[in-house]
Amino acid sequence: MIRLVLRGLAARKLRSALTSIAIVLGVAMVAGTFLLTDQINTAFDDIFRTGNERVDVVVSRATEFRSFEDELPPMPEDVIDRVAAVDGVAIADGEIDAIGQLVVDGELIESQGAPALVFSNVDPRLNPSEAIEGRLPENPGEVAVIEDTADRADVTAGTPGVRLATATGTQPVEIVGVFRLGDVSSIGGATVVLTTFGDAQRWFDREGQTSRVVAAAEEGVSAAQLADRVRAALPDGYRVETGRENADRQSEEIVGDISGFLTPALLAFAGVALFVGAFIIFNTFSITVAQRVREFGMVRTLGATRGQVLRGVVGEALVIGVVASLVGLGAGVGIAALIQALFDAAGFGLPAAPIELRPRTVILALLVGILVTLVAAVGPALRATRVAPIAAVQEGASMPPGRLTRYTPYIAAVLVVIGVIVFLYGVFSGLGATEALQSMGLGAVLVFLGVGMLSRFLVRPLARAIGAPIEAAAGTTGRIARANATRNPARTAATAAALMIGVGLVTFVAIFAAGLKSSFTGAIDRVIQGDLILQTGNFGTFPAGAGETIREVPEVAAVQLLRFPEVRTQPGGSQFLNTIEPATAPEVFDFDWQGDGSDALFARLRTDGALIETNLARSSGLRTGDTFTVTTNRGNRSTFTVLGEYRDPVLFTGITVSDAAADALEIPSEPSVGVVRFEPGADPEAAQEAVADRIAAEFPVVEVRSNAEFKEEFEGQIDQILALLYALLAISLVISLFGIVNALVLAIYERTREIGMLRAIGTTRGQMRAMVGYESVITAVIGGVLGIAIGVLFAWALTRSLSEQGIVFDLPWLTLVVFLLLAVVAGIVAALLPARRAARLDPLEALHHE
């Protein structure tokens, strides 16, 4: 039996290959995801462990929770001496961690989707950094850069004209060396600059402070022992870890940040690809089983049992599944590299260690690939067992209908209904993000399945509508193409359904992105009354000093430096704390006050007043006049009184307090966004230029944009993410294209004699190609239309549920038209090979095809 299976597959090479591709790509996505995230994990483990290689104990300030903007809050410098005094400490040193960019010949060296890190140099006995060129900084004004940054900035020891953008403006520095961190030459897309401790303190507002204290133990004292002793020697409010613990925690945190969304997101795309692949495998097996009715009848007459027929077909699927999964595993390496390249192109640099194939990756990839293939093939295989031996001798014997066929519409309808309910439950029930997404995903799968099953009833009307213009333009070839597309609606439906899934998700994503854009740009238009918006290139914070510098520009009337750190409120939980400067707030912002709120409230904010956003008011039950407490990551607490309520679900979510209140809470001074308002009558262009010029010299990291430019920039960023999502979904679309190719090739094989007849009576090769092309286009557009319809509905449901968050339902008509045209193009592309095969058939041989 196995030999027969293998022989059969070998005889149908093209078909087997086309079927396998669906699984290969899906498995490659799964394998690629694990390979990539493993690479990232290993890379970060490596970076942090190397960083702490010579460190036995790390002391940092204890925090209530992690904060991106304030990862390592400063602590007093004297902690260094207190640690050094602990018995068993051989050496202790302070280290300052900060954000700062190199400026070479006036040009900012940007990091890629990662921070621009500045570290102060520590004692060589604790320091894993080794100069591979020159030396590490020792004197004021000296810096060293990590190898990767040196390469990217094209600098080396002694390069003139180098400055470092710091919290106190750009500082002239002298590069005295290029270093590696142990054997690490690059930290993802981050730039890394090493300064002296004193410089770091001066340049980054850390006078008398340090970010970390690192210490090495004396001979005979273990890291754990030393950590215990240090812990005992220090008061509360400090976190004491061994070097290893510290490295592992940091790695875990950052890997959690990256992989926490990356792994499920990529796996979701892999799941989509496999789901599409399952449709194609189901369809291919259905078709091939139908084509082999006589063969099954023949083996039955020769005495094969139903079980043997079943095992034969399932065996075929198993072989395809195993081979395709193995190939997919290999292709996963390519996919991992491809995804990394995609992320790089989209501006998110990820660090990478060498590829490592963990057993978990192999097992999961193979398991998933083989299971999907088997599940998809089992239905057709069961139908094959129902072929009676008599079929062997019947001319044109056809497949007995499946037992469940007549229930199909009902099953499908039930699936759709359940799917919609599950989807809507995910959307509207206020579950957490993960659960909501899972529920939506499951609902979408059911809806796609159901619509895929139901779509056989939609194939005829859709084909008629789609075929009408083709028939009008192409006449009989179009008519025959349409007739071919509808002669087996179930097949066409399954083929189209594969494409429908990809198109549906692309549509969904496109509409959602359009909604995000509209809501954001709408909010900017409504709320921001300034003329310029300041921001860094990668959503980071920038030195508050930039604001002071701009205030000196004569055209500038007001500057608001917005900070929005994450805080915890009681009641309420995790919130954004927005900070504004009350005096100029009325002229810079236009709050949508609720109740009897007004701009007069700004003046009453002081250090204990807060304004709260409607969504928080609703979820926390806080009302005007109520009090609540705010806790920062550094553990500072304040009590605030609610002065009023406003609605702004996009920009000022959470609570809004005064700068003074934020300062009292020891919120770091670095703003994330600045809003500048000009003096009345100022020429906007000249004023913008004046501000940009002023800021470029001292704070080149700050980007100065008009509101229009800012909105454009935001839309550009959304588009970049959108492009990334499109690229990931493209894999599913490619798989469904292969599905169309496969179905067409099989159909052409079936219709060989018809093609012979058509050619004999005068159909040219060109007409033959066109016929196949039109059929393909009709099939693809059916998938496209259904996909767009489902995508629009899903997006509508989701945007409706998020309307409280300010997301609007905004149909990007042009994009949808482009998707439809792309479906046409997809149809044409998918038809290329099959059409060639059809046109190349020799009419005479075709006429005598069995």
Binding site: G475, T476, T477, R479, I480, A483, N484, T486, R487, R753, E754, G756, M757, L758, R759, A760, I761, G762, T763, T764, R765, G766, Q767, P843, L844, L847
Partner: protein, 257 residues
């Protein structure tokens, strides 16, 4: 009537009167020792308005001859002329267009498109050519083949005889210079066979249609004006009309020869 020697071919000058002509046509399949000569120098002319039957045992080359004459297969050497146009050496496209214009087909297995109606099927050659249907001609054809009330049916809803009558109407719809019928009754029972042959006969008598029919059935060949016998790739007998018994005698004599 039973000539022992093949008729001398008509004057080549008179090609204008010929629907199809072949000159010294050979067809060799394969090469070297395994080569098979299906046709070994066949010259034959089919005048307009003639109903010719081509007979011969399987492997005699009768199907090959028909395929070569119809422009479905290319001779290894020699020339074929359809309605005054030499088709040998034509590229695929002009050859296809010529088939479209000048040649009609009736196949053993009907070869109707299952998803089209009877009417769409019979109009197919014109539709593919982008030519207009002559409604009068179509009506008279449909009436003649007795399918007036079956025009909207699909092949699956038609009997074998009806399907073949659709196929015949399809072959005639473009008024081809020659209609090639490849075992047109091979898949029909005897009564529907007779019907089909009478229709072929009528199309010759009433419309002056030229027909070349390949058959191994003597009763079918008896409807023809002329019966050719092939053996081993050569025309070995070329008769005028023969009745079924005479054909049977020729076949027997050829078998024993």
């Amino acid at each position: 009537m039973t000539d022992e020697t093949p008729r001398t071919p008509p004057d080549p000058q008179a090609d204008g009167a010929m629907a199809v002509s072949a000159r010294d046509v050979t067809k060799r399949y394969g090469a070297g020792g395994a080569a098979v000569d299906a046709l070994r120098g066949v010259s034959v002319d089919f005048p307009r308005g003639q109903f010719a039957a081509v007979m011969g045992p399987s492997g005699s080359g009768k199907s090959t001859l028909m395929n070569v004459l119809a422009g479905l297969d290319r001779p290894t050497s020699g020339t074929v002329t359809i309605d005054g146009t030499e088709i040998t050496g034509l590229k695929d496209k002009p050859l296809t267009l010529l088939r479209r214009e000048k040649v009609g087909f009736v196949f053993q297995f009907f070869n109707l498109l299952p998803m089209l109606t009877a009417e769409e099927n019979l109009e197919l050659p014109l539709a593919i050519a982008g030519r207009k249907v002559d409604p009068e001609w179509e009506r008279s054809l449909v009436d003649a083949v007795g399918l007036s009330d079956r025009r909207r049916h699909r092949p699956a809803e038609l009997s074998g005889g009806e399907q073949q009558r659709v196929a015949l109407a399809r072959g005639l719809i473009s008024r081809p210079a020659v209609l090639f019928a490849d075992e047109p009754t091979g898949n029909l029972d005897s009564s529907t066979s007779g019907e089909m042959l009478r229709l072929l006969r009528r199309s010759v008598d009433e419309y002056g249609q030229t027909i070349v029919m390949v058959t191994h059935d003597g009763r079918a060949a008896a409807f023809a004006d002329r019966v050719l016998f092939l053996r081993d790739g050569l025309i070995v007998e070329d008769h005028g009309h023969l009745d079924a018994d005479e054909i049977y005698d020729v076949v027997k004599s050829l078998e024993s020869a």
